[in-house]
């Protein structure tokens, strides 16, 4: 009898061990653990993915990058461009039940500007004052017209948090954030999970069909995929191009994707050339020879299985902001050699710093092989990312394979890198005219007028080749076939509006 009982217990335990069930919860595999869950302090891309489920914004985008009002219900830009009036959507409440009104919007924009350490302050630098016109209307007064502002309010700068919670929690807000999005914060276990549950009083409740979302950071791409295949996750971000074959062959998986707003390229350090005695830094002909020596299509085919998009500008060729008059150069080894000759060099040696992951190293090696044929001796220096950032900040590198995750407005992809005073201009480029054009593009409104300015600037900075743009990622979001209604967005953010799970 005892033995039977034991067997029965063992059997039950096994069944319990092997079976699993979870209803209407979508589990998302992230490539990293997000940082602070406070829209004003958040700095990571994975953090933006979590915010998208938790914190609605004044404006939102469609998969085709059209901007439309979300927590706003409309807006109007004054003729002189110096003020923007925003209508606040009536009847919206935060997760703590407090109302989202004009006062709350004012509080949020001021907090983004003034909170010590706010990563949003520079985005809202042109906003001088926020005035509450009435309960449902605010007016933003600007120091100068600023075309990218609405696009920025469609990202973290436009996320609204509960003023009551922010005041009460202070520095601890990031540990239990309160916003006005479709899901509310439940708990976070560092490096393990972030759990959100459906917010019943969500203003757009009809768009949400799932009960809960769990974000799990799983850095290893194969393990992330294995979890998806085993059904433990419903969707993952950043699937590796090398895994796409497996995903396409799996009948239980679907593979939506979108072209990223960002870019990847090689940044050449042209600062302090005398100290470094580096022909790559001193002579634009040498940089041109280098660009002619490499073949973007080969890089894409060899390293990324041809899945990414080759490019030569800060925006992908499909973007309306792409400058058609500056097409991708074909590989031309003879011309490259001739240029080196003209510049008076037989061979040119330099070090290419890459992140120490297999894909970046492989990219470095393909560049090394291609450029080698034209007379470049490239040393690939695989560097741990924190160290690489440090060397980049100190200007202690020849060339760095680095990219940018991309922003909705072209200003976000170009201004900080190409203007003399740009935050991210560590490579030491400064052309007053380019700066002037890019600054003017900020205060100009209308696509045509802005495009002309960006085009003119591009024709100045692109031929200088201090950034050699290589490719744009295609962002893949494989998910289980049981999940339906999901759209991939070019900003790489996962949105659950309209998503259902069987």
């Amino acid at each position: 009898m005892k033995r039977h009982l034991f067997r029965l217990l063992l059997g039950t335990a096994l069944v319990a061990l092997l079976g699993s069930a979870s209803a209407q919860t979508v589990r998302v595999g992230l490539a990293e653990d997000p940082d602070m869950l406070d829209p004003d302090l958040g700095r990571t891309y994975v953090g933006r993915i979590v915010f998208a489920s938790m914190c609605d914004k004044l404006f939102e985008i469609t998969p085709d990058l059209e901007i439309f009002p979300q927590l706003a219900s409309g807006y109007e830009v004054a003729d002189d461009g110096l003020s923007i009036t925003i209508d606040v959507r009536p009847g919206v409440v935060f997760h703590d039940g407090t109302p989202l009104d004009a006062d709350a919007v004012k509080y949020n924009l001021e907090r983004s500007k003034n909170l010590p350490g706010s990563n949003r302050a520079s985005e809202l630098a042109q906003v001088d004052a926020v005035t509450v016109v009435d309960d449902d209307t605010v007016r933003l007064d600007l120091s100068e017209p600023f075309a990218p502002l609405i696009a920025l309010l469609a990202d973290r700068s436009g996320m609204m948090i509960s003023p009551a919670a922010a005041e009460e929690l202070g520095e601890d807000f990031a540990r239990s954030p309160v916003c006005a999005g479709p899901f509310q914060f439940v708990e976070r276990v560092a490096q393990d999970r972030i759990t959100l549950e459906r917010f019943e009083d969500y203003w757009d409740a009809d768009a949400i069909a799932i009960d809960a979302v769990e974000f799990l950071p799983i850095p290893d791409t194969s393990v992330r995929l294995a979890n998806l295949q085993s059904g433990d996750l419903q969707i993952i971000e950043r699937a590796a191009p090398t895994d796409l074959g497996i995903i396409r062959d799996d009948p239980d998986l679907t593979l939506p994707s979108a072209a990223s707003l960002g870019y990847q390229g090689i940044t050449i350090n042209i600062a302090n050339p005398e100290q470094r005695d580096d022909p790559m830094a001193t002579d634009p002909r040498v940089r041109e020879a280098f660009e002619l020596a490499i073949d973007r299509t080969v890089i894409n085919d060899v390293v990324f299985g041809g899945e990414f998009i080759v490019g030569n500008q800060a925006v992908p060729p499909s973007s309306p902001w792409y400058v058609d008059d500056y097409p991708i150069a074909e590989r031309d080894v003879e011309r490259a050699r001739a240029l080196l000759d003209e510049a008076g060099y037989d061979r040119v040696a330099f070090e290419l710093m890459v992140a120490n992951n297999p894909q970046s190293v492989q990219l470095g090696e393909v560049v090394q092989a291609l450029a080698g044929e034209a007379g470049f001796d490239v040393t690939v220096r695989a560097t741990e990312f924190a160290t690489a950032l440090d060397l980049w900040e100190q200007g202690d590198y020849d060339a760095f394979q680095v990219g940018w995750s991309g922003r909705l407005d072209p200003d976000g992809n170009i201004h900080s890198f190409q203007t003399c005073e740009g935050n991210l201009n560590e490579h030491g480029v400064c052309d007053e005219e380019t700066s002037r054009l890019l600054n003017e593009a900020r205060v100009t409104s209308g696509f045509e007028a802005r495009y002309e300015l960006y085009e003119e600037a591009a024709m100045r900075y692109l031929p200088n080749r201090h950034v050699i743009y290589l490719y744009h990622q295609q962002l893949f979001f494989p998910h289980t076939a049981s999940m339906q209604g999901f759209d991939a967005y070019p900003d790489g953010i996962i949105r659950f509006q309209g998503v259902t799970v069987d």
Binding site: D33, R43, G117, S118, A190, I218, W404, S416
Partner: protein, 316 residues
């Protein structure tokens, strides 16, 4: 006895002091600026300046060190620069995870190694013995992370028997917890099992050749009674010693295993903190580990002294 304990506690203090200096100094001699890493893609100079000021990164290292010691004196390990969570609560949530993983992998190792070692020894030079040795050697030479990924692909993806990775606290859902911990425990336990099995085999062989075993057999005890009652008990002593020595290896192995299976334990905590240059977390974790090590050693010494009075200073 008391003077002995006092003396040992006093010697522990300079050891800890050296640990604090080392962990603080080594951290800061690494390339990579936490403020730059934390500032993310945008690299806003004002944000970088703010982070430097907030975490006192702009002050001279000795000043930062003294400030940290002051914090420690108040029992405060600081907060993670990345997520704002207190280091103490991070340690307290992560530690049980790694302890559970280690205990389970020891269990796996013992369950495999002891019987295998005994069989290999009693059937010396037969197919069983050779098979055991081959398995043990493979266990030692297969890298943890490879075995882990293979198990995930086979057991979770192909067969769909167990979740591929992740963690659920034991007291929240014991069944799910074990489902998720089985594979990591097997992976981590494999290397240990191999070491223990080899040790078990050789010490079994040694014991089996001793006089008392022959006496037991001569007195008519059956084969298995001799092996289990007499030989195995004696052969286990060196195995237990080896097990103790392997605990350190186990903890470092847990770092890799936790990475593969995404288990939010101590190993993953420190690895991620090092990559993010999250100074307070690295310092806190290393200091905690060192203190635990010293305290355990102290306890063991005291225990020895209690058991054998000669150790505590020859007053016996």
């Amino acid at each position: 006895m008391l003077p002995f304990v006092v003396q040992r506690v006093l010697t522990a203090i300079p050891t800890l002091a050296i640990v604090t200096v080392m962990v603080f100094g080594i951290q800061r001699s690494l390339p990579g600026d936490p403020a730059v890493i934390l500032a993310g893609e945008e690299q806003d100079p004002q944000v970088i300046a703010f982070i430097r000021e907030k975490y006192r990164l702009d002050e001279p290292v000795p000043v930062q060190y003294v400030a940290w010691l002051g914090q420690l004196a108040r029992g405060d390990l600081g907060v993670s620069m990345r997520t704002g969570e207190p280091v103490t609560s991070l340690i307290l949530t992560k530690l049980p995870v790694t302890v559970q993983l280690s205990l389970l992998s020891i269990l796996v190792a013992i369950l495999v190694a002891i019987p295998a070692g005994v069989i290999a020894a009693t059937r010396k030079n037969t197919g069983w013995d050779v098979a055991g040795t081959v398995v043990a050697l493979s266990g030692l030479s297969i890298p943890n992370f490879w075995l882990g990924i293979m198990l995930i692909l086979f057991v979770s993806v192909q067969l769909g028997w167990l979740p591929a990775s992740g963690y659920v606290p034991f007291f929240e859902d014991p069944v799910d917890n074990l489902r998720r911990m089985i594979m990591p425990a097997i992976v981590l336990g494999t290397g240990l099992a191999a070491v223990l099995m080899r040790q078990m085999r050789s010490s079994m062989l040694e014991v089996l050749s001793q006089d008392f075993v022959r006496t037991a057999t001569a007195k008519g005890a059956s084969g298995w009674t001799t092996i289990v009652r007499h030989a195995m008990r004696n052969a286990l002593i060196p195995v237990v010693t080896i097990l103790g020595l392997q605990l350190g290896t186990l903890l470092s192995g847990a770092v890799l295993t936790e990475q593969v299976f995404t288990i939010p334990g101590f190993g993953k905590l420190i690895v991620d903190a090092v990559f993010n240059r999250d100074y307070a977390v690295v310092q806190g974790v290393v200091l905690f580990t060192a203190t635990a090590y010293i305290v355990i050693n102290l306890a063991v010494d005291v225990l020895y002294a209690l058991l054998d009075p000669r150790i505590s200073g020859g007053r016996a």
